[in-house]
Assembly symmetry: C2
Homo-oligomer: 479 residues x 2
């Protein structure tokens, strides 16, 4: 070949290299080089395409989540880990150039510590069998010696009233109604069953029970106990409450069909005095309508076991990724954008309540508040709610965005919000819950398995892209 | 309390026990005891609700899949394992009372065997580094001694033409264009990259290459080589082709930037004479329109590594679950339903072609053919296609089913079919591809990781329920 031929080949290969090497893909934001079939071809569609492309190829949310989940770990409100997470996310947000201000917003939170590893043992004449157990959040302990009592199995809170004090007094009440695995929506099934966990101890205590055991909240049969919050009603004598795995709940239930059983329980959980913690709030001031706030957030606290990866590290890093992506795409919002890491969703909502109180005190208006608190799974869409007088208007506007979400198979539907943003409803804006696929959520929820390795990087990034796209559309079009 | 009070309590508790115990849920088909919000309240909606409930609580597809994947394992066409899978699924289908006939349909398939564990080593003066490798399906071997040659990296098939024989002759061509991780649809990204794997060896051979290495087809950076089919064009001198993991492809690519390298490759794969295998076909004769066939199927063969759990054990057990559920719900179809386990999708399509030829010979009409061959993930919907003259009519009818699928967030869209059912298109019916969430598919596709533990039981069962619902609607409403 002639030298010029070699030169042409060299140039061609250099172009190939730039076009196709992973390095080039990941180190610069490439212009959109071709749309997949079905994407509408106008400016907003192109921007949204760029959002997905940036999130998938240059998003950082997976590395932030790995740090939160694997390095910091479980971060119950009031714990040293939760404060470490406050500092970490403050610093991540502070490094995003587009952000005007970041601050820590003080809030009061309860302080509960689990204590020693829990012991729950079936004791009868022939054998002792240890069950996989986790104390429920905010429970008292049994005392150092533990307690032992006969077990009575029930399937609903109201059964206690029918059984009466005579049948319950001095016993351990075992709440064993399973989540209905026939439900398509696992969150709905959770809602149907979780009264046993939240109110079981309070209700059983009314009838003289000495403690409660609760079947774990999952559609699976497995060996992981699921913790979660329980609350004591005013004026009720508190009693210890501990969750056991679904396999062990089935075992105990079957054993109780044969013969009355006593169970030994020991946990050294402690309720300490309330303490101070923080929401982390980052703001990008709007250029045209600064008084219309669009909030995106998740909760920074998690249960102490596991790493709070899906619940709700994912929601936190989704929200930070929204700002990171808008910054990378050099987007200047018309409305004021806030990214909020809420504290204490799991066992008190101290952060969410404080945020809304402060916001109301300042006379702010949140046009839209989006919460991601359903895990880091593949995005399915958004559910929304608002005060009845304004909801139809918002819903109609939101559904006009369908054309942009259809190519990504994302829906926008009535019904949804989030525990941390719900106190903002009275401001008259729209509340939106991000809805990822929920089929695997209760495989991990509130267990030692809720760790980074159980989050899929692409699914996490697609969730961030979906939320970023919605923030962009609301900012552009208003509501 | 009085004795009558105890009696009332006893009866109440007995009722609670029946209503809420898992045993009751799993041992009988309960009537629908309450709809989740948003489900339309008419007969079809109720039936579909019962389909989902049966699949989730009494479906067997997970246990069939565990057997196919963990007990039988990888089952490439022509292998003893593939014949074991034929017998196993024949027997499962034969035990379903609703089924009128089950038969094995003979088909000719290629026979390829992998041979010894593949060796791919970078050899330079300072070190030898072994790469994670799998021979591509239908490749020849290198011979016992292996081969060693200089490596030339390219990013597309057409680059070969530009480089010409002088640059390629005697070398190993390394195809290293990554799947575009910015694509939302991973299948689309696969389609953009897979020409390197399928045609790389043939094309490189034209220019005198001695072998090819191919970057694995996945959006991930990981250590699993992905096998898959490659084909030799007519009249081309066959050369060996081997896939390497994406991490090792990146390593090799970076190393090549420094210095020319030689690689040693050894595989003892063999192409044996074609052999006989079987599709498994089960039929339920329609009561009103027996000549209108609705087919549901997957492919029974898989790659020899891993257990073919997502690809395509899931599609097979989805299809068998359709019949199992319709049987359990005592459904009598108006149209003829066929459940087909296709053989040899992966490396020849012998089963799909034979099925269509036989069907055409008998003058049959497949009103609809549904294939599940995209994994056992959470269902997203269905894509469909047909001959242009009939497609608009079918699509309109199909979209009238939206009302039934909306509560399950399932879409029905143009675009889709399946490799095994595509030869039926000329009969003028509708081809439908089941579309589960595809984000994790290429984490496992054609690797040792495609095993049962990487399939989620609920997601698998929901897929089966979605397909069953579509079969029911088409059977009821026609097209």
């Amino acid at each position: 070949m002639h030298k010029t031929q070699y030169l042409i080949i060299f140039i061609f290969l250099a172009i190939c290299q730039i076009s196709f090497s992973q390095k080039a893909v990941s180190e610069e934001l490439r212009p959109i080089v071709g749309l997949e079939p079905g994407i509408p071809q106008d400016e907003a569609a192109f921007f949204i395409k760029a959002v997905f492309e940036h999130s998938l190829t240059k998003g950082n949310c997976h590395s932030w989540l790995k740090y939160l989940s694997d390095e910091i770990g479980g971060r119950l409100a009031g714990s040293p880990e939760s404060l470490e997470a406050v500092d970490y996310t403050y610093n991540v947000l502070n490094r995003i150039a587009l952000v005007d201000t970041v601050y820590k917003q003080e809030c009061r939170v309860p302080r509960w510590v689990r204590g020693d590893e829990e012991i729950v043992e079936i004791r009868n004449e022939s054998e002792t069998r240890r069950l996989k157990a986790l104390a429920l959040g905010n429970t008292i302990g049994t005392g150092e010696e533990g307690l032992e009592a006969e077990v009575i199995e029930v399937f609903s809170l109201d059964t206690l009233h029918i059984l009466g004090r005579e049948a319950i007094e001095g016993k351990i009440v075992f709440f064993n109604r399973p989540m209905n695995m026939a439900r398509i929506n696992t969150g709905y099934a959770y809602g149907e069953a979780v009264d046993q966990r939240v109110h079981g101890a309070s209700r059983a205590s009314e009838y003289g029970a000495v403690a409660v055991l609760v079947r774990s909240m999952t559609t699976n049969r497995d060996d992981f106990p699921h913790t979660g919050v329980q609350t004591y009603a005013e004026g009720i004598e508190p009693i210890p409450s501990i969750a056991i795995s679904t396999n062990d709940a089935d075992y105990l239930s079957n054993a109780l069909k044969e013969v009355p059983l006593t169970v030994y329980m020991r946990n050294t959980s402690q309720i300490l005095p309330d303490t101070i913690s923080y929401n982390v709030v980052a703001e990008i001031r709007g250029s045209e309508y600064p008084d219309e706030i669009i909030l995106v957030g998740g909760h920074l606290d998690s249960w102490d076991v596991g790493g709070g990866a899906h619940d709700d590290g994912s929601g936190c890093v989704h929200s930070m990724q929204v700002f990171h992506t808008l910054d990378a795409l050099d987007y200047r919002p018309k409305r004021t954008l806030r990214c909020v890491m809420f504290m204490n969703e799991e066992n008190g909502l101290g952060g969410g309540k404080t945020y809304a109180e402060e916001s109301n005190r300042r006379g702010e208006f949140h046009l839209a508040a989006i919460e991601s608190d359903s895990g880091g799974f593949s995005p399915r869409g958004f559910g929304c709610s608002a005060e009845p007088d304004v909801f139809p208007k918002y819903l109609a506007k939101l559904q006009s965005f369908d054309v942009f979400f259809d190519p990504y198979d994302l829906y926008l539907k009535p019904g949804g919000g989030g525990a941390d943003i719900n106190p903002l409803k009275s401001q008259g804006g729209l509340l939106i819950g991000f809805k990822p696929d929920g089929q695997r959520y209760f495989d991990f929820h509130h267990t030692t398995e809720d760790v980074y390795r159980n989050v899929n990087e692409r699914e996490l990034k697609l969730g961030a892209a979906a939320i970023t796209s919605l923030v962009y559309l609301i900012d552009q079009a208003g509501l």
